[in-house]
Amino acid sequence: MPTLPPVKTRHTGWMLFWMTVWGRSYPRVVGMQRERSWLFFDIFLPLMGVSAYVFVYRAIHAPEDYIGFVIVGGVMIAYWMNVLWGMSSQLYWEKETGNLALYIIAPGPLMACLLGMAVGGLFATTLRALVGLVIGSLLFNVNYTVVSFPFLFLVFLAAMIALYGLGMATSSIFLLLSREAWHIANLAQEPIYLVSGFYFPIKSFPFWVAAAGSLIPLTLGLDAIRQLVFASGPSLGFISVPLELGILVVLALVFLFVSYLLLNYMERLAVREGKLTDIRS
């Protein structure tokens, strides 16, 4: 039987951190594209939901920009769904399949694994969001008037970092709550559709309702994006785009820091209580 030489190179520190991020993002960047059914479940079905709102707005002769609002909102729902089901509940699933134990005993940091899930999820969802955006825009003849592409990119980036930071933070909580977490995820799904203003501008809400909804990063991100890409966007915006961007940056930093703290807490607690695996001996 042939022999196996020892490993020559083992990276540590930041190099190991980024290798872990890339390694864990790979199943989502590459693997998730292999199931062609995503075209049906992630594009066709959400478009049907969005279409209902489009026809409602057309029936009541709402301004044409509202159609664009709905299309952009529908696209952003994909990110919320990914964060809720692909991030928050992911560590729980990793525990169930046995992967979590392997991540923990590996020298790559668990935080890098979590970041890898987020990066991979963001990539895979962006691919779906882009396809949905193009099809929806062509189908309903949406006109965009982009004020500033760099600003738009910055807002989107800040919103996504904050949103996936939130997902990373909640994943530790979901892991500790185990199966009860499913109920919380289900409970969170529809109310967030409402308070984040996926299908209408949040300016329609009383100020404090909109402000409370702004704790979900998608709310401000979506509002700022609408202000930057539609002619009537600024007049229907909640607060100014620079302020929204500033709040999103703060939310991003806070959520990432909280996720780091929660992950460490969860790992310590799980090792102490024996909750990372079942009580099989």
Partner: protein
């Protein structure tokens, strides 16, 4: 120079708090108590015991997944509780029946992904993956999605994942579970070769299969109900039984025989009866070989027809029976909820 043990434990214990049947109450489950082990570099050390004996709990502590509630454990001289990050640089683990990795990725991609978590550059990782796939006879499946692999092939993938990172200390928890006879033989052969390649490598193996432990392990610890009952080389453990004569008698009956019916025989140490298919296997441990005649006489009185009778050399199973008073299977059946 004093050699640092690859694994060392002292007074190691673990108590779980589990929910009692009554709401709000907690009860304590002692999974491990007072475990003192020392495994040297280059050793292939086995842990033998029935389900629930504490083997997996011990592995979880040594692999930094679980903290002990008493005592301490070191891997490569590093305390697993105080410095888990340093321990993780040096270890890997494979469990039988695990479903690690992602079904959408190919076998090669899954292995590459795990190599990234250990900081092994892609080029070197891919070379090692190719070599290991060749050794394990999986080269033709390298680009098959792991969801499409059989349980046995997935387990081979898991085993490759463990060896891929070339750990100083490798924990194999029932590694051949789910493998067919040929595949299990290949794995055992590879494990032995891997150990022979580098004298610093260490393996801690848990297994149900006593033959596997006998074939592979330099030393074994027999563990039951969280305690180590004996620890020595398989040969030395069996040596202690050499003064006994062990007879295996196959009886043409499935009717339960009363083991106490043989109590009056002077030189009889123990009797174990196990129904197998449509007959009963009786194992008799005698101080004097000649006493077998009395056993046969007693069987004749009971009208039990003897299909075969043979004297055999003691095995690790016999060692276990001697120490625990029952076979691994009997202990597991006694502990199962159905019993």
């Amino acid at each position: 120079m004093v050699e640092i043990p690859s694994i060392e434990t002292s007074g190691l214990g673990r108590i779980y708090k589990v929910r009692a049947a009554q709401k709000g109450e907690q009860k304590q489950l002692v999974a491990l108590q007072d475990i003192n082990l020392k495994v040297s570099p280059g050793e292939l050390f086995g842990l033998l015991g029935p389900n629930g004996a504490g083997k997996t709990t011990l592995i979880k502590i040594l692999t930094t997944l679980l903290s002990p509630t008493s005592g301490w454990a070191r891997v490569s001289g590093i305390d697993v509780s105080k410095n888990p990050e340093a321990v993780r640089q040096r270890i890997n683990m494979v469990s039988g029946g695990e479903s690690s990795g992602y079904g959408l990725l190919t076998l090669r991609e899954n292995l590459w992904m795990f190599a990234q978590f250990y900081g092994i550059p892609s080029g070197e990782a891919n070379q090692r993956i190719k070599a290991l796939l060749d050794i394990m006879g999986l080269s033709d499946r390298a680009n098959t999605r792991s969801a499409q692999l059989s349980t046995g092939l997935r387990q081979k993938m898991n085993i490759i994942r463990g060896f891929l990172t070339d750990p100083e200390v490798l924990f194999l928890d029932e590694p051949t579970l789910g493998l067919d006879v040929g595949a299990a033989r290949d794995v055992r052969s590879f494990v032995r070769d891997w150990m022979n390649d580098d004298p610093r490598r260490t393996i801690l193996l848990t297994t149900h299969y006593l033959v596997e432990a006998e074939e592979l392990c330099d030393r074994v610890a027999i563990i039951n109900k969280g305690r180590v009952l004996a620890c020595d080389s398989p040969a030395a453990l069996k040596q202690n039984l050499q003064k006994e004569s062990i007879f295996e008698i196959h009886l043409d009956t499935t009717q339960p025989l009363d083991a106490h019916a043989f109590d009056a025989i002077d030189c009889l140490n123990s009797v174990h009866l196990q129904p197998v298919d449509n007959h009963t296997v009786m194992e008799v441990y005698l101080e004097e070989e000649a006493a077998v005649a009395q056993v046969i006489g007693r069987l004749t009185e009971k009208s039990a027809r003897i299909l075969s009778l043979q004297k055999r050399e003691p095995s690790l199973e016999d060692v276990f029976v001697k120490l625990v008073g029952a076979s691994i299977e009997e202990v597991e059946n006694a502990d199962s909820p159905a019993s």
